[in-house]
Symmetry: C2
Subunit: 230 residues, 2 copies
Protein backbone atom coordinates (compact mmCIF):
# COMPACT_ATOMS: atom_id res chain seq x y z
CA UNK A 1 0.00 0.00 0.00
CA UNK A 2 2.83 2.34 0.90
CA UNK A 3 4.75 3.62 -2.09
CA UNK A 4 8.54 3.59 -1.94
CA UNK A 5 9.85 7.01 -2.98
CA UNK A 6 12.09 7.15 -6.07
CA UNK A 7 10.42 3.96 -7.25
CA UNK A 8 8.70 3.62 -10.61
CA UNK A 9 5.34 3.69 -8.86
CA UNK A 10 6.23 7.01 -7.26
CA UNK A 11 7.31 8.42 -10.62
CA UNK A 12 4.02 7.33 -12.16
CA UNK A 13 2.04 8.80 -9.27
CA UNK A 14 3.87 12.12 -9.53
CA UNK A 15 3.32 12.17 -13.28
CA UNK A 16 -0.38 11.55 -12.67
CA UNK A 17 -0.59 14.43 -10.20
CA UNK A 18 1.10 16.68 -12.74
CA UNK A 19 -1.26 15.51 -15.47
CA UNK A 20 -4.40 15.87 -13.36
CA UNK A 21 -3.23 19.34 -12.34
CA UNK A 22 -2.36 20.63 -15.80
CA UNK A 23 -4.74 18.76 -18.12
CA UNK A 24 -7.66 18.43 -15.72
CA UNK A 25 -9.23 15.21 -14.52
CA UNK A 26 -11.06 14.58 -17.77
CA UNK A 27 -7.98 15.26 -19.85
CA UNK A 28 -5.81 12.73 -18.07
CA UNK A 29 -5.34 9.36 -19.79
CA UNK A 30 -3.21 6.34 -18.98
CA UNK A 31 -1.08 6.94 -22.06
CA UNK A 32 -0.43 10.58 -21.21
CA UNK A 33 0.60 9.75 -17.67
CA UNK A 34 2.84 7.00 -19.01
CA UNK A 35 4.47 9.43 -21.42
CA UNK A 36 5.22 11.96 -18.66
CA UNK A 37 6.58 9.27 -16.37
CA UNK A 38 8.61 7.74 -19.20
CA UNK A 39 7.07 4.29 -18.90
CA UNK A 40 4.66 2.18 -20.92
CA UNK A 41 0.88 2.46 -20.59
CA UNK A 42 0.71 -1.11 -19.31
CA UNK A 43 2.98 -0.26 -16.43
CA UNK A 44 0.58 2.39 -15.18
CA UNK A 45 -2.21 -0.16 -14.77
CA UNK A 46 0.21 -2.81 -13.53
CA UNK A 47 1.12 -0.67 -10.55
CA UNK A 48 -2.26 0.77 -9.64
CA UNK A 49 -4.75 -1.78 -10.93
CA UNK A 50 -6.79 0.75 -12.81
CA UNK A 51 -7.01 4.46 -13.52
CA UNK A 52 -9.36 4.80 -10.58
CA UNK A 53 -6.75 3.14 -8.40
CA UNK A 54 -4.19 5.65 -9.63
CA UNK A 55 -6.52 8.50 -8.81
CA UNK A 56 -7.03 7.10 -5.30
CA UNK A 57 -3.29 6.76 -4.84
CA UNK A 58 -2.90 10.44 -5.74
CA UNK A 59 -5.55 11.37 -3.21
CA UNK A 60 -3.93 9.25 -0.51
CA UNK A 61 -0.61 10.87 -1.27
CA UNK A 62 -2.08 14.35 -1.04
CA UNK A 63 -3.56 13.41 2.31
CA UNK A 64 -0.30 11.97 3.65
CA UNK A 65 1.80 14.94 2.53
CA UNK A 66 -0.67 17.31 4.14
CA UNK A 67 -0.54 15.34 7.38
CA UNK A 68 3.25 15.21 7.44
CA UNK A 69 3.68 18.91 6.96
CA UNK A 70 0.84 19.71 9.28
CA UNK A 71 2.69 17.99 12.14
CA UNK A 72 5.81 19.99 11.35
CA UNK A 73 3.77 23.19 11.15
CA UNK A 74 2.02 22.48 14.46
CA UNK A 75 5.24 23.11 16.35
CA UNK A 76 5.49 26.54 14.71
CA UNK A 77 2.21 27.58 16.31
CA UNK A 78 -1.28 28.05 14.95
CA UNK A 79 -1.66 29.22 11.38
CA UNK A 80 -4.91 30.27 9.78
CA UNK A 81 -3.64 29.44 6.30
CA UNK A 82 -4.85 25.87 5.94
CA UNK A 83 -3.03 25.59 2.63
CA UNK A 84 0.38 26.82 3.73
CA UNK A 85 1.54 23.23 4.25
CA UNK A 86 1.16 22.47 0.55
CA UNK A 87 3.06 25.49 -0.65
CA UNK A 88 6.72 24.69 -0.10
CA UNK A 89 7.76 23.89 -3.66
CA UNK A 90 8.83 20.30 -3.07
CA UNK A 91 5.80 19.08 -5.00
CA UNK A 92 5.04 21.90 -7.42
CA UNK A 93 1.76 20.46 -8.71
CA UNK A 94 0.11 19.36 -5.47
CA UNK A 95 -1.72 22.64 -4.93
CA UNK A 96 -3.08 22.67 -8.47
CA UNK A 97 -4.07 19.03 -8.05
CA UNK A 98 -6.00 19.88 -4.92
CA UNK A 99 -7.68 22.76 -6.73
CA UNK A 100 -8.72 20.31 -9.44
CA UNK A 101 -10.19 17.63 -7.18
CA UNK A 102 -11.83 19.89 -4.59
CA UNK A 103 -15.05 20.23 -6.48
CA UNK A 104 -15.66 16.55 -7.13
CA UNK A 105 -16.67 14.50 -4.15
CA UNK A 106 -13.84 12.01 -3.77
CA UNK A 107 -13.94 10.35 -0.31
CA UNK A 108 -10.33 11.06 0.59
CA UNK A 109 -10.66 14.70 -0.40
CA UNK A 110 -13.66 14.84 1.90
CA UNK A 111 -11.46 13.41 4.63
CA UNK A 112 -8.85 16.05 3.87
CA UNK A 113 -11.37 18.86 4.05
CA UNK A 114 -12.85 17.52 7.28
CA UNK A 115 -9.36 17.39 8.76
CA UNK A 116 -8.73 20.99 7.75
CA UNK A 117 -11.98 22.04 9.38
CA UNK A 118 -11.21 20.37 12.69
CA UNK A 119 -7.67 21.81 12.60
CA UNK A 120 -9.14 25.23 11.95
CA UNK A 121 -11.52 24.82 14.87
CA UNK A 122 -8.49 24.22 17.09
CA UNK A 123 -6.53 27.14 15.68
CA UNK A 124 -9.51 29.46 15.97
CA UNK A 125 -10.04 28.43 19.60
CA UNK A 126 -6.38 29.14 20.32
CA UNK A 127 -6.72 32.49 18.61
CA UNK A 128 -9.69 33.33 20.78
CA UNK A 129 -7.77 32.37 23.93
CA UNK A 130 -4.78 34.46 22.94
CA UNK A 131 -7.02 37.47 22.32
CA UNK A 132 -6.28 37.62 18.61
CA UNK A 133 -9.73 36.44 17.50
CA UNK A 134 -13.23 37.22 18.59
CA UNK A 135 -15.22 34.42 20.21
CA UNK A 136 -18.00 32.93 18.09
CA UNK A 137 -21.55 31.81 18.82
CA UNK A 138 -20.96 28.91 16.45
CA UNK A 139 -17.27 27.90 16.45
CA UNK A 140 -17.81 24.88 14.23
CA UNK A 141 -19.85 26.80 11.68
CA UNK A 142 -17.32 29.60 11.63
CA UNK A 143 -14.49 27.12 11.02
CA UNK A 144 -16.42 25.43 8.20
CA UNK A 145 -17.20 28.70 6.47
CA UNK A 146 -13.67 30.05 6.75
CA UNK A 147 -12.05 26.83 5.52
CA UNK A 148 -14.45 26.43 2.61
CA UNK A 149 -14.11 30.09 1.68
CA UNK A 150 -10.39 29.45 1.43
CA UNK A 151 -10.69 26.24 -0.52
CA UNK A 152 -13.30 27.81 -2.75
CA UNK A 153 -10.90 30.61 -3.62
CA UNK A 154 -8.35 27.94 -4.51
CA UNK A 155 -10.74 25.99 -6.70
CA UNK A 156 -11.61 29.23 -8.50
CA UNK A 157 -8.01 30.31 -8.94
CA UNK A 158 -8.52 30.97 -12.65
CA UNK A 159 -11.04 33.68 -11.87
CA UNK A 160 -8.95 35.07 -9.05
CA UNK A 161 -5.97 35.31 -11.34
CA UNK A 162 -7.98 37.13 -13.97
CA UNK A 163 -9.55 39.54 -11.49
CA UNK A 164 -6.78 40.19 -8.96
CA UNK A 165 -3.64 39.04 -10.79
CA UNK A 166 -2.81 36.50 -8.09
CA UNK A 167 -2.13 32.80 -8.74
CA UNK A 168 -2.96 30.72 -5.69
CA UNK A 169 -1.46 27.58 -7.24
CA UNK A 170 1.92 29.21 -7.77
CA UNK A 171 4.47 27.86 -5.26
CA UNK A 172 6.05 31.32 -5.21
CA UNK A 173 2.64 32.84 -4.56
CA UNK A 174 3.69 34.50 -1.29
CA UNK A 175 6.27 36.66 -3.06
CA UNK A 176 4.03 37.85 -5.89
CA UNK A 177 3.91 41.66 -5.89
CA UNK A 178 0.15 41.65 -6.43
CA UNK A 179 -0.51 39.52 -3.37
CA UNK A 180 -1.66 42.67 -1.58
CA UNK A 181 -4.68 42.76 -3.91
CA UNK A 182 -5.67 39.46 -2.37
CA UNK A 183 -4.77 39.93 1.29
CA UNK A 184 -5.97 43.52 1.69
CA UNK A 185 -9.73 42.99 1.21
CA UNK A 186 -9.68 39.76 3.18
CA UNK A 187 -7.94 41.41 6.10
CA UNK A 188 -10.37 44.28 5.90
CA UNK A 189 -13.38 41.99 6.14
CA UNK A 190 -11.84 39.77 8.81
CA UNK A 191 -10.79 42.87 10.70
CA UNK A 192 -13.87 45.07 10.59
CA UNK A 193 -16.64 43.05 8.99
CA UNK A 194 -18.76 44.41 6.21
CA UNK A 195 -22.02 45.47 7.80
CA UNK A 196 -22.21 48.60 9.92
CA UNK A 197 -22.94 48.40 13.63
CA UNK A 198 -26.20 50.27 13.01
CA UNK A 199 -27.36 47.72 10.47
CA UNK A 200 -26.42 44.83 12.74
CA UNK A 201 -28.30 46.20 15.72
CA UNK A 202 -31.32 47.03 13.58
CA UNK A 203 -31.52 43.39 12.48
CA UNK A 204 -30.46 41.88 15.79
CA UNK A 205 -33.88 40.47 16.61
CA UNK A 206 -34.05 38.80 13.20
CA UNK A 207 -30.62 37.33 13.70
CA UNK A 208 -31.32 35.88 17.12
CA UNK A 209 -34.55 34.41 15.82
CA UNK A 210 -32.53 32.87 13.01
CA UNK A 211 -30.00 31.48 15.44
CA UNK A 212 -32.77 29.79 17.41
CA UNK A 213 -35.21 28.50 14.80
CA UNK A 214 -33.55 28.88 11.43
CA UNK A 215 -35.31 30.47 8.50
CA UNK A 216 -38.73 29.15 7.60
CA UNK A 217 -40.52 29.88 4.33
CA UNK A 218 -42.89 32.35 5.98
CA UNK A 219 -40.78 33.69 8.81
CA UNK A 220 -41.22 37.45 9.16
CA UNK A 221 -37.52 38.29 8.74
CA UNK A 222 -37.53 36.83 5.22
CA UNK A 223 -37.19 40.27 3.67
CA UNK A 224 -34.15 41.18 5.67
CA UNK A 225 -32.69 37.72 5.37
CA UNK A 226 -32.76 38.01 1.61
CA UNK A 227 -30.98 41.31 1.59
CA UNK A 228 -28.46 40.00 4.05
CA UNK A 229 -27.89 36.59 2.49
CA UNK A 230 -24.42 36.79 0.99
Amino acid sequence: MEIEERSTAARIRDAAIECFATEGIGGTTARRVAAIAGVSPGSVINHFGSMEGLREACDRYLLSVTRDRKERAMTAGPNLDVLASLRDGTHPHLMAYLAEVLSDGSPSVAELVDGMVSDAEGYLAQGVESGMLQPSDDPHGRAVIMVIWNLGLLSMHHHLFRLLDVDLTDPAFASTPAIGNYIRPIMEIYGNGVFTAEFMSSTREAMTALAEHGVTPDSPEEGNAQEGTP
Copy 2:
Protein backbone atom coordinates in the same frame (compact mmCIF):
# COMPACT_ATOMS: atom_id res chain seq x y z
CA MET B 1 -27.74 31.93 -32.85
CA GLU B 2 -30.84 32.55 -30.76
CA ILE B 3 -32.63 29.38 -29.76
CA GLU B 4 -36.41 29.28 -30.10
CA GLU B 5 -37.92 28.01 -26.85
CA ARG B 6 -39.95 24.77 -26.97
CA SER B 7 -37.94 23.84 -30.07
CA THR B 8 -35.97 20.63 -30.36
CA ALA B 9 -32.76 22.59 -29.95
CA ALA B 10 -34.03 24.01 -26.67
CA ARG B 11 -34.97 20.55 -25.45
CA ILE B 12 -31.51 19.26 -26.29
CA ARG B 13 -29.88 22.23 -24.59
CA ASP B 14 -31.94 21.73 -21.43
CA ALA B 15 -31.13 18.02 -21.44
CA ALA B 16 -27.45 18.90 -21.73
CA ILE B 17 -27.66 21.28 -18.77
CA GLU B 18 -29.32 18.57 -16.74
CA CYS B 19 -26.71 16.04 -17.77
CA PHE B 20 -23.76 18.34 -17.10
CA ALA B 21 -25.28 19.17 -13.72
CA THR B 22 -26.00 15.62 -12.59
CA GLU B 23 -23.31 13.53 -14.32
CA GLY B 24 -20.55 16.11 -14.35
CA ILE B 25 -18.81 17.53 -17.39
CA GLY B 26 -16.71 14.43 -17.96
CA GLY B 27 -19.70 12.13 -17.58
CA THR B 28 -21.76 13.85 -20.24
CA THR B 29 -21.86 12.22 -23.69
CA ALA B 30 -23.78 12.99 -26.84
CA ARG B 31 -25.73 9.74 -26.51
CA ARG B 32 -26.74 10.42 -22.91
CA VAL B 33 -27.93 13.92 -23.75
CA ALA B 34 -29.84 12.53 -26.71
CA ALA B 35 -31.51 9.93 -24.49
CA ILE B 36 -32.64 12.56 -21.96
CA ALA B 37 -33.92 14.85 -24.70
CA GLY B 38 -35.63 11.95 -26.46
CA VAL B 39 -33.83 12.48 -29.76
CA SER B 40 -31.13 10.68 -31.71
CA PRO B 41 -27.42 11.25 -31.08
CA GLY B 42 -27.04 12.64 -34.59
CA SER B 43 -29.56 15.34 -33.86
CA VAL B 44 -27.48 16.66 -31.00
CA ILE B 45 -24.53 17.31 -33.28
CA ASN B 46 -26.83 18.46 -36.09
CA HIS B 47 -28.09 21.33 -33.96
CA PHE B 48 -24.91 22.42 -32.23
CA GLY B 49 -22.14 21.38 -34.60
CA SER B 50 -20.19 19.56 -31.94
CA MET B 51 -20.23 18.73 -28.26
CA GLU B 52 -18.11 21.80 -27.63
CA GLY B 53 -20.71 23.87 -29.45
CA LEU B 54 -23.39 22.38 -27.21
CA ARG B 55 -21.37 23.27 -24.15
CA GLU B 56 -20.98 26.85 -25.40
CA ALA B 57 -24.72 27.07 -26.03
CA CYS B 58 -25.35 26.01 -22.43
CA ASP B 59 -22.95 28.69 -21.20
CA ARG B 60 -24.59 31.33 -23.37
CA TYR B 61 -27.99 30.30 -22.06
CA LEU B 62 -26.80 30.50 -18.45
CA LEU B 63 -25.50 33.97 -19.17
CA SER B 64 -28.71 35.14 -20.82
CA VAL B 65 -30.96 33.79 -18.09
CA THR B 66 -28.83 35.48 -15.48
CA ARG B 67 -29.03 38.76 -17.35
CA ASP B 68 -32.80 38.55 -17.78
CA ARG B 69 -33.48 37.92 -14.14
CA LYS B 70 -30.90 40.40 -13.06
CA GLU B 71 -32.77 43.18 -14.81
CA ARG B 72 -35.99 42.12 -13.14
CA ALA B 73 -34.22 41.94 -9.76
CA MET B 74 -32.67 45.38 -10.22
CA THR B 75 -36.05 47.00 -9.78
CA ALA B 76 -36.45 45.20 -6.44
CA GLY B 77 -33.42 46.98 -5.04
CA PRO B 78 -29.86 45.86 -4.33
CA ASN B 79 -29.32 42.28 -3.26
CA LEU B 80 -26.05 40.89 -2.00
CA ASP B 81 -26.98 37.36 -3.03
CA VAL B 82 -25.48 37.21 -6.51
CA LEU B 83 -27.03 33.80 -7.05
CA ALA B 84 -30.60 34.61 -6.06
CA SER B 85 -31.50 35.19 -9.69
CA LEU B 86 -30.80 31.55 -10.55
CA ARG B 87 -32.84 30.10 -7.72
CA ASP B 88 -36.45 30.44 -8.82
CA GLY B 89 -37.17 26.86 -9.83
CA THR B 90 -37.98 27.52 -13.47
CA HIS B 91 -34.74 25.87 -14.49
CA PRO B 92 -34.04 23.38 -11.71
CA HIS B 93 -30.57 22.38 -12.92
CA LEU B 94 -29.08 25.76 -13.77
CA MET B 95 -27.56 26.32 -10.33
CA ALA B 96 -25.95 22.87 -10.31
CA TYR B 97 -24.70 23.48 -13.85
CA LEU B 98 -23.08 26.72 -12.74
CA ALA B 99 -21.50 24.91 -9.78
CA GLU B 100 -20.08 22.38 -12.22
CA VAL B 101 -18.58 24.82 -14.71
CA LEU B 102 -17.32 27.45 -12.26
CA SER B 103 -13.99 25.78 -11.72
CA ASP B 104 -13.06 25.34 -15.36
CA GLY B 105 -12.12 28.44 -17.23
CA SER B 106 -14.77 28.74 -19.93
CA PRO B 107 -14.81 32.23 -21.47
CA SER B 108 -18.51 32.86 -21.02
CA VAL B 109 -18.40 31.73 -17.39
CA ALA B 110 -15.59 34.24 -16.94
CA GLU B 111 -17.86 36.87 -18.44
CA LEU B 112 -20.63 35.83 -16.05
CA VAL B 113 -18.35 36.09 -13.04
CA ASP B 114 -17.01 39.45 -14.14
CA GLY B 115 -20.58 40.68 -14.50
CA MET B 116 -21.41 39.50 -11.01
CA VAL B 117 -18.37 41.30 -9.66
CA SER B 118 -19.26 44.59 -11.25
CA ASP B 119 -22.87 44.21 -10.10
CA ALA B 120 -21.63 43.53 -6.60
CA GLU B 121 -19.46 46.63 -6.73
CA GLY B 122 -22.57 48.64 -7.48
CA TYR B 123 -24.64 46.99 -4.78
CA LEU B 124 -21.87 47.40 -2.23
CA ALA B 125 -21.54 51.09 -3.08
CA GLN B 126 -25.29 51.53 -2.62
CA GLY B 127 -25.07 49.70 0.69
CA VAL B 128 -22.34 52.06 1.82
CA GLU B 129 -24.40 55.10 0.83
CA SER B 130 -27.46 53.79 2.65
CA GLY B 131 -25.42 53.22 5.79
CA MET B 132 -25.87 49.48 5.77
CA LEU B 133 -22.29 48.65 4.81
CA GLN B 134 -18.94 49.96 5.90
CA PRO B 135 -16.89 51.81 3.30
CA SER B 136 -13.84 49.97 1.97
CA ASP B 137 -10.28 50.99 1.15
CA ASP B 138 -10.49 48.70 -1.87
CA PRO B 139 -14.08 48.48 -3.15
CA HIS B 140 -13.14 46.44 -6.20
CA GLY B 141 -11.07 43.96 -4.22
CA ARG B 142 -13.80 43.61 -1.62
CA ALA B 143 -16.38 42.90 -4.32
CA VAL B 144 -14.13 40.31 -5.96
CA ILE B 145 -13.46 38.50 -2.70
CA MET B 146 -17.09 38.49 -1.63
CA VAL B 147 -18.37 37.27 -4.99
CA ILE B 148 -15.75 34.56 -5.30
CA TRP B 149 -16.26 33.47 -1.71
CA ASN B 150 -19.90 32.97 -2.64
CA LEU B 151 -19.23 31.18 -5.89
CA GLY B 152 -16.58 29.08 -4.20
CA LEU B 153 -19.11 27.93 -1.63
CA LEU B 154 -21.38 26.98 -4.51
CA SER B 155 -18.71 25.04 -6.35
CA MET B 156 -17.93 23.18 -3.12
CA HIS B 157 -21.55 22.44 -2.31
CA HIS B 158 -20.81 18.74 -1.75
CA HIS B 159 -18.56 19.59 1.17
CA LEU B 160 -20.95 22.18 2.49
CA PHE B 161 -23.76 19.67 2.42
CA ARG B 162 -21.68 17.14 4.31
CA LEU B 163 -20.49 19.63 6.91
CA LEU B 164 -23.49 21.91 7.42
CA ASP B 165 -26.39 19.91 5.98
CA VAL B 166 -27.24 22.64 3.48
CA ASP B 167 -27.59 22.10 -0.27
CA LEU B 168 -26.85 25.28 -2.19
CA THR B 169 -27.98 23.76 -5.49
CA ASP B 170 -31.44 22.91 -4.15
CA PRO B 171 -34.06 25.30 -5.60
CA ALA B 172 -35.88 25.10 -2.26
CA PHE B 173 -32.66 25.92 -0.47
CA ALA B 174 -34.07 29.02 1.24
CA SER B 175 -36.65 26.99 3.13
CA THR B 176 -34.29 24.30 4.40
CA PRO B 177 -34.45 24.15 8.20
CA ALA B 178 -30.67 23.86 8.45
CA ILE B 179 -30.10 27.06 6.50
CA GLY B 180 -29.32 28.80 9.78
CA ASN B 181 -26.15 26.69 10.02
CA TYR B 182 -25.05 28.43 6.86
CA ILE B 183 -26.25 31.98 7.39
CA ARG B 184 -25.35 32.34 11.06
CA PRO B 185 -21.55 32.14 10.80
CA ILE B 186 -21.49 34.23 7.64
CA MET B 187 -23.57 36.96 9.24
CA GLU B 188 -21.36 36.83 12.29
CA ILE B 189 -18.21 37.36 10.24
CA TYR B 190 -19.78 40.00 8.01
CA GLY B 191 -21.20 41.69 11.09
CA ASN B 192 -18.30 41.70 13.50
CA GLY B 193 -15.27 40.41 11.65
CA VAL B 194 -13.04 37.73 13.07
CA PHE B 195 -9.99 39.53 14.41
CA THR B 196 -10.19 41.53 17.62
CA ALA B 197 -9.73 45.28 17.60
CA GLU B 198 -6.56 44.84 19.67
CA PHE B 199 -5.04 42.49 17.14
CA MET B 200 -5.96 44.79 14.27
CA SER B 201 -4.40 47.86 15.88
CA SER B 202 -1.28 45.89 16.84
CA THR B 203 -0.76 44.99 13.18
CA ARG B 204 -1.94 48.27 11.73
CA GLU B 205 1.50 49.38 10.59
CA ALA B 206 2.05 46.06 8.84
CA MET B 207 -1.30 46.37 7.11
CA THR B 208 -0.74 49.90 5.86
CA ALA B 209 2.67 48.89 4.57
CA LEU B 210 0.99 46.01 2.79
CA ALA B 211 -1.60 48.29 1.30
CA GLU B 212 1.12 50.55 -0.09
CA HIS B 213 3.82 48.16 -1.30
CA GLY B 214 2.39 44.64 -1.13
CA VAL B 215 4.32 41.79 0.43
CA THR B 216 7.87 41.20 -0.75
CA PRO B 217 9.85 38.04 -0.04
CA ASP B 218 11.92 39.72 2.65
CA SER B 219 9.54 42.32 3.96
CA PRO B 220 9.65 42.52 7.75
CA GLU B 221 5.96 41.86 8.31
CA GLU B 222 6.28 38.42 6.73
CA GLY B 223 5.82 36.70 10.08
CA ASN B 224 2.59 38.48 10.84
CA ALA B 225 1.38 38.19 7.29
CA GLN B 226 1.70 34.43 7.47
CA GLU B 227 -0.30 34.19 10.66
CA GLY B 228 -2.89 36.49 9.23
CA THR B 229 -3.15 34.99 5.78
CA PRO B 230 -6.50 33.23 5.76
